[in-house]
Each structure stands twice: as structure tokens, then as C-alpha cells.
């Protein structure tokens, strides 16, 4: 590649320094990175980017799925002085991207992806890696990340379901007397997960970034500090919002729920590994007030419960699923959500009318409900009869 004269370098730089630059909004830079700007907007943003090194840096870092190494501002002086500008520079230290070697491996990878596709009919992937793909596709389904055996083990998710049964937390051994509610642990004791890549059905590479764990102090009372899985997260968070937030809220001077959410958000995040292609497991999540189910390990999701009243929590044990929602709504399914029966919760002359925010299944047939007004309703006969306890009574 022919170099440009040095005068071009200096005039390009000088143009940026001389101009009184009004930077484009974050929204426009983000849309630029995703090729989502209108033509005249794109022209305007490019005109600014041609002058502003800072915004070029931001634009480069904003590229989706970027493996862009951030360059310091003054690196341009070093780059001009030390780099052979005649050669196309690549991230791999000078190797040409479109050599036959790379194309051969790309063809092999494509062939493997096609073979995998052929083995899994009807699979649709929801991840998007390419900015062009993002711009061209309709608004993606915002899906939840399912619990995998690795995550189940990590978070001590316990189930007494048989090994072959479809379960929300598959292939995890469980003591007979333990509960079926997902539990969380201080993350600092766990080893750091590794980076993974997965080929998608559209030949897009989804990269799961797994950040290092940090030495955060996690209080035992802050149950929400670890629950990052959307399978457990909703139920955990719903309960955690209401519980033990006085210390946090007083520190931050915020409403109870905000303080706890902040603590949850700042806790170390854990990426869940995706299930192997050959596994077939049922996963559950609640999104936008609807209960959703995936029968293929999180690849596709169906809404199974949605109505006037929003759904707030669920618990599953094998093919048995319980879902709780607003105004005392409780539904039960024994066939992984294909059919449902409404359960009336009442006892001691009183009916449940507040929102069910947490469900805990206890072996062999126990169920414990917690509500948003600090009531606990329990049953030992799979919901045929119930007993109520207020928070004061429990204390």
C-alpha cells in the first residue's frame, strides 16, 4: 500500500486540533457502531470522527464484539514513527487475513457449522455479533441465559429429579431433605471461568466474556449478590428486594430496592456456559411479567403463562412447575407447563391476595410461598391445604 506524504498526516492532525469540536451524542456514536444511522446523520458523525481522535477511540471501542485493543491518544506519534505504513497492519502481527491458510480453516469451520445445523432442525439463535447483522435484523428477542449443569453445580442448585427427567437444573445430585430453591454462594471461593466461543446457527461467533472475579465483600444477608442467572435471578431478586436492605439503603441514602439492586449489580458477574448441543433440558424464566419455557436448552423460548396479571416467580422440580404472580395467583403444572391448574391458596379463613414473590419446593411434597407483604404460606400436601404465617409470627 502506497504511503501518503507526511504533510497529510500533519494536516489531518492539525485539522482536528484547530476545530472547535462539538461531540456527537452517545446515542449517535452507538448507532454509528451498529450501522443504524440515517445517511445524513452518518455523514455528520463521520465528519466529526475524521477530526476527533477521542471520538474515534470511543467509536472503535463501541464496536460490537470488538477485540479492539484501545490505543492511547499519543500512540499516533509512535505508530507513525515505528510502523511500516506500506504494509496492511493486522491484529495478528502482520499476517495477511485472506491467505489460503486462513481461508482453508474458515471453510472447515463453516463445514462444521453446517453439519451441526443439519443435525439440529429448527434451531434459531438469538445472539448477534456483527454490527451489520444488528442493523439488518429486527429487534432481537431478549432471552435469558439458562442454567447449565456447570452453573447448577456452582450455585448448588438442588433437585431430586431423576437423572433422565427434563429438569430446570439437570444432572445435579441432591440430598433428600434439601430444598429445591436455588441457593447462592459467595463467588470469591470459586475458580475463575474461562473464555469460550460458540458457533451459532447463523455462522456468527458469540463470544462469552467471563470477567475475573473480584475480591468483593459479600454479606451473608445479601442473598442477591450472586444471583446473576435469569432463571433464578427473578425469584431471588424479587425476594431480595424486600429483605434486609436497611443497612445498604441507609449507606446509599436510597430507597430499599435501589440499594439492594445496586449491590447486586456491582457484585461479580458470572457468565453461564451454554449447554452442549446434544442436551435437551427445560429451562424457565420470567421476562416482562410472562413465564417462558425453553425445551431445547435455551435456544428457543415459548411464553406459557401470560395474562392480565403479571407473573413474578416460579419453581420447578422435574416436570412439576409452580408459578406465582400478582394478587395471590398461583398455577401448577405437572407436565412441564403444557397444562396448568389454578391453585386457590387459603387457610384459617383467609385467602392469599398479595403478590407471590417466591416459591420454594420442599421434598417430598412441601411448598412454601412468600408474598410481598411478608406473609408465608406453606403446604405439606402439594397445595391441597395451606397455612399462613406473618413476618411477626415467624420472628
Amino acid at each position: 500500500m502506497t504511503d501518503v506524504p507526511k504533510i497529510v498526516h500533519s494536516r489531518l492532525r492539525a485539522a482536528g486540533q484547530a476545530a472547535g469540536l462539538a461531540h456527537p451524542e452517545t446515542e449517535l456514536l452507538a448507532a454509528f457502531a451498529e450501522q443504524a444511522l440515517l445517511p445524513d446523520e452518518r455523514e455528520s458523525v463521520l465528519a466529526h470522527l475524521a477530526l476527533c481522535a477521542d471520538c474515534r477511540e470511543v467509536a472503535a471501542l463501541s464496536l460490537p464484539e470488538a477485540n479492539v485493543a484501545p490505543m492511547p491518544v499519543d500512540a499516533e506519534a509512535e505508530a507513525v514513527g515505528t510502523k511500516d505504513l506500506r504494509e496492511p497492519v493486522s491484529q495478528s502481527g502482520g499476517r495477511v487475513w485472506f491467505g489460503w491458510g486462513n481461508l482453508r480453516w474458515a471453510a472447515l469451520a463453516a463445514g462444521i457449522a453446517v453439519a451441526v445445523l443439519a443435525m439440529r432442525p429448527g434451531v434459531r439463535h438469538v445472539e448477534q455479533a456483527s454490527p451489520i447483522a444488528v442493523a439488518k435484523q429486527p429487534s432481537p428477542q431478549v432471552e435469558s441465559i439458562p442454567v447449565t449443569p456447570q452453573v447448577a453445580e456452582e450455585f448448588h442448585v438442588q433437585s431430586d429429579a431423576p437423572a433422565g427427567a427434563s429438569a430446570t437444573k439437570p444432572d445435579v445430585e441432591k440430598p433428600a431433605t434439601s430444598s429445591h430453591r436455588a441457593k447462592t454462594e459467595t463467588p470469591a471461593a470459586k475458580p475463575m471461568p474461562t473464555r469460550k466461543q460458540a458457533m451459532t446457527t447463523d455462522n456468527q461467533v458469540a463470544q462469552l466474556a467471563k470477567p475475573e472475579r473480584h475480591a468483593y465483600a459479600v454479606s451473608s444477608a445479601d442473598r442477591a449478590s450472586v444471583a446473576s442467572t435469569s432463571v433464578e435471578g427473578t425469584t431471588e431478586a424479587s425476594a431480595a428486594v424486600q429483605s434486609d436492605d436497611a443497612a445498604i439503603s441507609s449507606d446509599l441514602g436510597l430507597p430499599v430496592s435501589t440499594g439492594n439492586l445496586m449491590a447486586r449489580a456491582q457484585a461479580p458477574a458470572v457468565e453461564k456456559a451454554k449447554p452442549a448441543f446434544e442436551e435437551s433440558t427445560t429451562f424457565w424464566t420470567i421476562s416482562a411479567g410472562a413465564l417462558k419455557r425453553s425445551l431445547d436448552g435455551g435456544q428457543n423460548w415459548q411464553t406459557v403463562l401470560k395474562g392480565k396479571r403479571t407473573w413474578r416467580c416460579y419453581a420447578a422440580r422435574g416436570q412439576e412447575v409452580w408459578a406465582g404472580g400478582a394478587k395471590g395467583t398461583l398455577q401448577h403444572s405437572t407436565d412441564s407447563g403444557t397444562t396448568w391448574s389454578r391453585i386457590a391458596v387459603s387457610g384459617d379463613g383467609e385467602s392469599l391476595g398479595s403478590d407471590v414473590i417466591q416459591i420454594e419446593l420442599q421434598a417430598p411434597s412441601g411448598i412454601v410461598l412468600e408474598t410481598d407483604n411478608h406473609q408465608t404460606w406453606s403446604s405439606i400436601d402439594s397445595g391441597q391445604s395451606w397455612q399462613k404465617k406473618d413476618l411477626a409470627e415467624k420472628k
Binding site: 451498529e34 477485540n67 497492519v89 435471578g233
Partner: protein
């Protein structure tokens, strides 16, 4: 003209509202319509009604509803936001900062901004209020984080410790060198003129490649092009600029030979400032004029 009228009536707005899922976060259709109207006025204030309707329909409605519900403090919205984006934000921070402690600090800072902890007069001031659904929420979050990272890096570069100053010899202040004399001003003029004739995308490509040291692949991703297209473009620009500058120099009175020589041997390439160099090399007098008498071992002259 209201959004309802522009969008073909209440039915279209209701459809957008239904698609957004805003109802789950306690947001009414009227509130959502106001949000859409605000965004539409900002980006497409003048346009045919069908264009404005298309603009609204192309927005990321569900993510917009989620973001605005979070900005309004809806707990359920925050639950969904955290479950969907917390891991991603930490991953982004790691991608951007490339170092664990910096990434953690960056992610925490962004969360604070998104939550709106910097409340003014008791009103939460969440950054999510500025998301307008043009691109994905994830992309927007990545840009917010990138901006924060770039700003932090700038601050760190400006903050130099006293130890660093001492090591770099700032305490031994040399005489201020004279600015490097520019070459023929016609060269700058001709170059500016040639650059001004290029499109914004071409100038962005040149700046990214020659000033920032971006790779062809990185530039291609930013522009939505193939890497080979960027390579060909740079070749074309390089040869085209050379011709344009030469033409500009000839228009300014230089002969072809003079123009070619001026372009190839710009004095900026030859950093030769003898005066400042000589001044630095002999900053202190080797033999002071004031004589200090020698002393014997007992300290007496």
C-alpha cells in the same frame, strides 16, 4: 402534529406500545407515546408522516421501554435489566479496559450512572433516560462505557506524579525550543484543499489508519465494509491525494519539479533545530568565572 396523527392513528401507537412490553413495567400507553414523540421530534422533526412512523417502528421498542422504566425507578424493570445486562456489562468492561481492576472500577462507575446515584434535588438522574432506542441497548451501554474509559484515560494522562516529573527531568527545565519552522505554506494550503475535497468517510479512513494506527479489519468493521474494500480505498486515496496536492502546488505557482520536491522533502521530515539543541547541550557553564580557592586538609586556604 402529534405522534398519533403522524403514525396513522391510535392503532399504530397502540401496536408500538404492545410491542414494547412497557405495560409490564407500569408504563401507560400515553406515557410511552410521549417518549416516542420526544424521540421523533429530536431526530426526525421534519419529515413525511410515513417516514416518521417508520422511524418509530424501527426503534428498539422493548429496550426503550426497559431503559425508560429503569430511569423512572421501576423495580421490575431493574430486575430485568440486571438479569440481562449485568454480566454483559462486566464483560464489556473487561474488553474495553483489558485489566481486571480497571474493568471493575469502570463497570461500577457505569452502574452508578445508570442507577442515577447522583441525584439532584432528590430526583434520580439516570443515564438511561438518554437512551432513545436508535441502536441496541447493549450497544449504547458499550458506548457509554467506552466514553467513560476514554475520559478516565485522558485524566490519568494529565495527572503526572511528582516522582515522574523528577525522573523525566522536569526540574531541569531546558530552554523552550523554537517552534519548527513550517515548509512552504503553499504545501499546507494545497494539502488542506486536497483533504477538503474528500468525503467524510475517506477522511475518517485516513485518520483511523494513519493517525490512530487502526488495522484494516478494525476500520472495515467501523464502516461496515469488507477489509479488502478498505485496503483498496486507502490505495486510491494515497495516489489520489498525491496527485491533488501536486496539482494544487502547480496552481500556486510551482513547477512540477518544485511541487514534487516540496511534497517529497517537506522540512517537517527533517527535524533540525540546531539552536535549541546547542542550547540544551551546553546549558551550564563548565568553568565558572568565580574562582574558589583551594583549601588544605584542615579547611584553611
Amino acid at each position: 402534529m402529534s405522534l398519533r396523527a403522524q403514525s396513522g392513528g391510535a392503532g399504530a401507537v397502540a401496536d408500538l406500545y404492545a410491542r414494547s412490553g412497557a405495560a409490564a413495567y407500569g408504563m401507560s400507553a400515553e406515557q410511552f407515546a410521549l417518549i416516542l414523540e420526544e424521540i421523533q421530534k429530536k431526530y426526525v422533526p421534519t419529515g413525511a408522516p410515513h417516514q416518521q412512523a417508520e422511524f418509530c417502528a424501527a426503534l428498539r421498542l422493548e429496550e426503550l421501554a426497559l431503559a425508560r422504566a429503569c430511569a423512572a425507578g421501576n423495580d421490575r424493570a431493574w430486575e430485568d435489566f440486571i438479569s440481562r445486562y449485568r454480566s454483559k456489562l462486566h464483560g464489556m468492561a473487561m474488553q474495553i479496559a483489558r485489566e481486571a481492576s480497571q474493568a471493575a472500577e469502570l463497570a461500577d462507575s457505569i452502574f452508578a450512572d445508570l442507577f442515577g446515584l447522583s441525584a439532584r434535588s432528590g430526583v434520580r438522574n439516570s443515564k438511561l433516560l438518554f437512551y432513545t432506542g436508535r441502536g441496541s441497548l447493549e450497544g449504547w451501554l458499550r458506548t457509554v462505557m467506552s466514553q467513560e474509559f476514554v475520559n478516565r484515560y485522558r485524566k490519568q494522562k494529565r495527572t503526572v506524579s511528582l516522582e515522574e516529573q523528577t525522573e523525566e527531568g522536569a526540574q531541569f527545565v531546558a530552554s523552550v525550543p523554537e517552534p519548527v519552522r513550517s515548509g512552504d505554506p503553499r504545501l499546507e494550503e494545497a494539502t488542506d484543499e486536497a483533504l477538503g475535497q474528500l468525503s467524510a468517510e475517506d477522511r475518517f479512513t485516513l485518520a483511523s489508519y494513519y493517525l490512530d494506527g487502526r488495522t484494516l479489519a478494525e476500520i472495515a468493521r467501523a464502516l461496515g465494509l469488507h477489509e479488502s474494500s478498505v485496503s483498496r480505498r486507502l490505495d486510491r486515496l494515497s495516489s489520489g491525494l498525491r496527485k491533488s496536492i501536486l496539482a494544487g502546488l502547480r496552481e500556486r505557482g510551482m513547477s512540477h519539479a518544485q511541487a514534487a520536491e516540496a511534497l517529497e522533502t517537506d522540512v517537517r521530515d527533517i527535524v533540525l533545530d540546531l539552536r535549541s539543541r546547542l542550547t540544551q547541550d551546553s546549558g551550564s557553564t563548565t568553568f565558572p568565572s568565580r574562582q574558589t580557592p583551594a583549601r588544605d586538609g584542615r579547611g584553611k586556604p
